[in-house]
């Protein structure tokens, strides 16, 4: 029997999830939007009418026109192009932050939940504190040490966000640990590491995935706030948060300047949130009944 044939027979939980997900209109809308956003990110160099850093100092703060569809910013750069290029950055920030924080949080959560005892106690206290410590301040301190910049901002945000993963993964691990198949695995002689990563991890993966989809948008928003404080992306990066932060001075003078990046953030965040909701409902169908 070939591998392909085998695949064709079984319907995995993931496939079932996808089937349910597909029926959720809002989630599918989110997915379609996300696909468009990804396409824009990839195609930005092709579809953007200008370079995102090209200055037209004579055309500063122009309202939307046929020349500049979204208008221009304070240095005469085309806002449309910057918004289009900004998708690359937003996605990178969101996804990387979510992945870094997931990697930290999931590992610690698994260990905490599986081993329990004093390890769990210590880890959870740390989580408690990181979780409720104002994340912006932690991020600020980290950025101050590492220096501002997109990468450092991402690291900083990730370092504040891992706690929620750790918490949820720990909780899930605690409940999965009680499942009989874990005991069965031990009974057939599986090692702890193997149990952690081949048995528990795949079963908490769905929750992690949901969390990641929720985390991506909040990472985008927090990164935007850091840019607001001058600690995030550095100019002339076409970062939406940075654009929004600069645009705030021109809120009444050049409203289009803040509207377009603002709306771009909102759409992206909404898309991820819709997907997250859909995913959660698809993974826990009992909730939708």
């Amino acid at each position: 029997m070939t591998e392909e044939k085998r695949r064709a027979v079984g319907v995995s939980m993931w496939k079932l999830t996808w089937r349910r997900f597909r029926k959720n209109k809002l989630a599918m809308t989110g997915l379609v939007i996300l696909c468009i956003i990804i396409a824009i990110a990839i195609l930005a160099p092709v579809i953007a009418p200008y370079s995102p850093v090209e200055q037209h100092l004579e055309d500063r703060l122009q309202p939307p026109s046929s020349k500049y569809l979204f208008g221009t910013d304070e240095l005469g750069r085309d806002i449309l192009s910057r918004v289009l290029y900004g998708t690359q950055i937003a996605l990178r920030v969101g996804v990387l932050v979510a992945l870094i924080s997931a990697a930290i949080g999931v590992t610690l959560g698994l260990i905490s939940g599986y081993y329990g005892g004093i390890v769990d106690e210590v880890l959870m206290r740390i989580v408690d504190i990181v979780w409720s410590f104002p994340s912006l301040i932690l991020a600020l301190a980290i950025v101050s040490i590492l220096g501002p910049g997109l990468i450092n901002a991402m690291v900083a945000i990730a370092l504040t966000m891992w706690a929620s993963y750790a918490r949820i993964v720990r909780g899930e691990t605690l409940s999965v640990r009680e499942e009989l198949y874990i005991e069965a695995a031990r009974a057939i002689g599986e090692s702890d590491i193997r149990i952690l990563f081949s048995y528990i991890l795949p079963n908490v993966m769905s929750s992690i995935l949901v969390l990641i989809t929720y985390n991506i948008p909040s990472a985008i928003i927090v990164a935007a706030s850091l840019s607001f404080l001058g600690l995030g992306a550095q100019p002339p990066t076409p970062d939406w948060g940075l654009m929004l932060s600069t645009a705030r001075t021109y809120l009444t003078i050049a409203p289009w300047y803040s509207i377009f990046p603002g709306v771009a953030i909102m759409i992206t965040v909404l898309a991820f949130n819709f997907i997250g909701d859909g995913l959660r409902d698809a993974i826990q169908p009992e909730r939708v009944s």
């Binding site: 029997m1 085998r6 695949r7 064709a8 027979v9 079984g10 319907v11 995995s12 939980m13 079932l16 106690e121 499942e179 009989l180 198949y181 005991e183 069965a184 695995a185 031990r186 009974a187 057939i188 002689g189 599986e190 048995y199 795949p202 079963n203 993966m205």
Partner: protein, 352 residues
């Protein structure tokens, strides 16, 4: 030399500490298994019956060393399994299997049946090639009544009965000597229960397996086991032969008797007869009663029962009872049990 006793359990104990807050609280323990000694003979089905919380599942997990004991010994084929290192334990585990109550929870939902069954082979290095392993998996699947078409399914796509068959297959794929069956049919419907019981009997004969069969259902017990131990609050109160004693109603511990009398009779001709129902409920295993643990519910309890723990007596060859006054049971309860069992037997014979 082949020992006739495959598993020897000596004074096995397991107390679970009750967790509170940051550190473990001292003093409060759940006395799940509290000094159990028994032997399981090669090739037999040893049934362990009792109500929920009596420690029978803990007992099974201790036999496979899935949890560490508080005290006591388990000799598996002469080897004390609690003294083993990781590697040796793995070797012994190859010779043991376990099947749990809840078929759904027993199988990793993210693994295909093939992968679930392949893992024990990989862990224990059975079968050299992929091909060989696949064949072994197919073979065992066939033995438990499933087929190639199930190979790449996920557990959720199977019915409860089928899931339990996979669990059984996983337990016996390493060709073990001993399988612990922890309420393997309790979550199943009657018709499926029958299928699984038949399968288990068939497999036992074919592979010469030794079973520890745990259940709270005395009807299942009387069908499947060769010898039965009755547990109450962490202790074994009676060990007896199934066909000659249990099924004939010859029981000497009041708890065993009450248990049998409480089980609803399927025989409607039994209806209306005076039912004897044991009062009260099982006390908390955190602070088990002193003396005989059954005394608060026992209508025949005397002062001695409250103070002194009854020793295990061999009342007949191979029939052990832990009761100060087995004669009272024999006099007051055993006749009813016998009568009831007789009536059920009639039904069984009549239908067959």
């Amino acid at each position: 030399m082949v020992r006739s006793d495959l598993v020897v359990v000596e004074d096995l104990r397991k107390y679970f500490p009750i967790r509170a807050g940051l550190f473990k609280a001292k003093g409060a323990f759940v006395h799940a298994v509290d000094g159990v000694s028994l032997t399981i003979k090669r090739g037999e089905t040893f049934g362990l019956a009792g109500e929920s919380g009596c420690g029978k599942s803990t007992f099974a997990r201790l036999l496979l060393r899935l949890i560490e004991p508080t005290g006591g010994k388990v000799l598996f084929d002469g080897v004390d399994i609690f003294s083993l290192g990781k590697k040796e334990l793995k070797k012994v585990r190859k010779r043991m299997g376990i099947v749990f109550q809840d078929p759904k929870s027993s199988l990793n939902p993210r693994m295909t049946i093939y992968n679930i069954l392949k893992r024990p082979l990989e862990i224990h290095g059975i079968g050299s090639s992929k091909e060989e392993k696949l064949n072994m998996v197919l073979e065992i699947l066939e033995k438990v009544g499933l087929g190639e078409e199930h190979l790449n399914r996920y557990p959720h796509e199977l019915s409860g009965g089928q899931q339990q068959r996979v669990s059984i297959a996983r337990a016996i794929i390493t060709k073990p000597d001993f399988v612990a069956l922890d309420e393997p049919t309790s979550a199943l419907d009657i018709s499926v229960q029958a299928q699984i019981l038949n399968l288990l009997v068939k497999l036992q004969r074919e592979f010469k397996l030794t079973y520890l069969f745990i259940t709270h259902n005395l009807m299942v017990m009387q069908y499947v086991s060769d010898r039965v131990g009755i547990m109450y609050l962490g202790k074994v109160v009676e060990v007896l032969n199934t066909r000659e004693e249990l099924n004939m109603g010859k029981v000497y511990h009041p708890y065993t008797a009450f248990l049998m009398l409480s089980t609803p009779a399927v025989d409607i001709r039994e209806r209306g007869r005076n039912k004897i129902i044991v009062p009260g409920e099982v006390p908390s295993p955190i602070n088990p009663p002193p003396g005989c643990r059954f005394h608060p519910r026992c209508p025949f309890a005397k002062e001695k029962c409250r103070r002194k723990e009854p020793p295990v007596m061999e009342i007949r060859k191979g029939h052990y009872v832990a009761c100060h006054f087995p004669s009272i049971t024999e006099e007051k309860l055993t006749p009813y049990v016998e009568e009831r069992m007789e009536s059920i037997r009639k039904l069984w014979r009549g239908e067959s």
